[in-house]
């Protein structure tokens, strides 16, 4: 079971656009909501109303500042969840076969009934995409909303992962990367989609789109700063209004 398939029939995954993500964390909340009520054990919280709350999340949004000399700092929001790697190191280390990569669509899943909660898969994942649920004692991870995308009880527009469905800025796209003509393949190609930590050789399916270069304001006229002001003192109607307002 923990042998990785040589090839999957489809490669379902996400494209995350770092240019358009506004860092609202709506994907975090919709992910937690859907995955607490559906597939597998709920995503538990510890001391949710206490001073030191923690909980299990399958998707988290970090924010990074980029400073280039001579330019203003830029802020980027960075959502991170399981990348459904082709060479998923989390799968091969699993001693029980609870972790597996599906041949039909490439989704990496955990069979919670077989999980012994040893945590080794989370150690093997470079991205921090797996979290051991404190209440249930089993490993939780992004399922790519496997219970939504094939769910015929849902209207067709809802058959995408909850994070994609909820994103208000259109920063998340879902599709099949094995089809070169799919929307995700196309935008990934056009916008130079990249892998996270390529040196870890995990071959992630999910791609990230880099921020577009920041535009600069064009100068209207080189002489503009030297132009004399049109009016120092108001005249006519404006002068009258000025006077009246002063009196108020």
């Amino acid at each position: 079971m923990t042998m990785l398939p040589k090839k999957t029939e489809r490669k379902l995954g996400l494209v995350i656009d770092l240019d358009t993500c506004v860092g609202c964390h709506a994907c975090v909340i919709s992910c937690k909501g859907w995955n607490t009520e559906n597939y597998g054990a709920p995503l538990s919280d510890e001391r949710p109303y206490g001073a030191d709350p923690t909980g299990t999340f399958l998707n988290r949004v970090h924010s990074y500042e980029v400073k280039i000399d001579g330019k203003e700092s830029q802020l980027f929001h960075f959502p991170k969840s399981c990348l459904h790697c082709e060479d998923a190191p989390c799968v091969t280390v699993c001693p029980t076969g609870a972790s597996y990569k599906r041949v039909e669509d490439g989704i990496v899943l955990v069979n919670e009934k077989d999980c012994i909660g040893c945590g080794l898969c989370a150690w093997a994942c470079p991205y921090g995409a797996r979290e051991l649920d404190a209440a249930e004692g089993v490993m939780k991870k992004c399922t790519l909303c496997v219970d939504r995308i094939y769910n015929e009880n849902l209207p067709e527009e809802d058959r995408v992962p909850a994070c994609v469905r909820t994103c208000p800025s259109g920063a998340r796209h879902f599709g099949d990367f094995s089809d070169p003509e799919s929307q995700v393949s196309k935008i990934s190609r056009e916008r130079n989609g990249f892998d996270l930590m390529p040196e870890q050789a995990t071959k992630p399916v999910n791609k990230y789109l880099p921020p577009r270069p920041k535009d600069t304001m064009k100068e209207v006229d080189v002489l503009a700063p030297f132009l004399a002001p049109v009016a120092d003192e108001p005249e006519g109607f404006m002068a009258w209004l000025d006077k009246k307002l002063d009196k108020l």
Partner: protein, 293 residues
């Protein structure tokens, strides 16, 4: 990485236990009758006690038997098989020694090899992880094997072999520390490779995903105790190698050996505590640790 006491006890004790089983298996020493029984009891209680401690690390130990299924890919699963195999062969070999006074050489040899394979599998659980640069080196399995054999040889009372192994332990341990100290910086993982940001200029964490801690931070970004590293390393080497060499050079009698073993074990436990607590996982980069990367 979080230095879980269950894992420190497991790797230290079962390592020495299987090290002793290796020497008994190859006939160094080859005790018979009551003495053989005592040796086997010591070896088995260390090995099995360690394995038992490891199950405390599991959140769902009632499903532990499932860990025997994935030996094709998982070192943890292989370790389970090798451990059971080693204990089984050494039990048969032991019955021969204790009750019939015969050493069935072939059975002992197989048991010895399986004992070594168990320690090697344990070490490869860590050594195979690309995500922890400090562990991801051939020195990890070498260190685990050398320490297991050294501990085993002290109990087995092997005289000069023990002294040589103690020296090899010191060299391997120091080499592991020296190599480990630069391993993270030498790995290609940086905040830029992790996020794609900062190819021009400098990227840094502006705000973490949550205001409080989480599983990842507790498990992988453990930073307590790093400031005492050099003191702990000295203590570890002194206890693990220094004291046993001093004692065993004087005399190899029962009491000296007993004190040497206990000191050695204390040193191994400190070494293992450092092994875990000093190891940094690349996921820390996403949380702004390792700002130099």
């Amino acid at each position: 990485m979080y230095p879980a006491s269950s894992l420190i006890i497991f790797t230290s004790f079962s390592g020495i236990g299987f090290g002793l089983l290796f020497f008994l298996g190859v006939g160094l020493p080859a005790p018979k009758g009551m003495l053989a029984l005592i040796f086997l009891l010591i070896a088995n209680s260390l090995a099995v006690g360690g394995l038992f401690a490891a199950t405390y690390h599991l959140r769902r130990p009632e499903r532990a038997l499932k860990a025997f299924t994935q030996w094709k890919t998982s070192w943890l699963s292989r370790e389970a098989w090798f451990a059971v195999g080693a204990l089984l062969f050494m039990a048969i070999y032991g019955i021969g020694l204790v009750f019939f006074g015969v050493a069935v050489g072939l059975v002992g040899m197989v048991g010895a090899l399986l004992s070594i394979a168990t320690v090697y599998s344990t070490s490869m659980i860590y050594g195979d992880l690309k995500t922890v640069p400090r562990w991801n080196t051939p020195l990890t399995p070498i260190l685990f094997l050398v320490i297991a054999l050294t501990g085993g040889s002290i109990i087995a009372g092997l005289g000069e072999i023990t002294l040589i192994l103690l020296l090899i332990t010191a060299i391997t341990q120091v080499a592991y520390w020296v190599k480990g100290d630069t391993a993270f910086a030498k790995s290609e993982t940086t905040i830029t490779s992790a996020t794609g940001l900062g190819k021009e200029g400098i990227a840094r964490l502006f705000s973490p995903p949550h205001t409080s801690s989480n599983y990842l931070l507790k498990e992988f970004v453990y930073i307590v105790g790093r400031k005492h590293v050099s003191k702990l390393r000295f203590a570890s080497l002194a206890m693990m190698v220094g004291v046993p060499i001093a004692l065993l050079s004087v005399s190899v009698n029962l009491w000296f050996s007993l004190v040497a073993v206990i000191c050695h074990l204390v040193g191994v436990v400190i070494s293992r505590w450092l092994f875990f607590s000093q190891a940094e996982h690349v996921v820390g980069i996403y949380y702004g640790h390792r700002s130099d990367c």
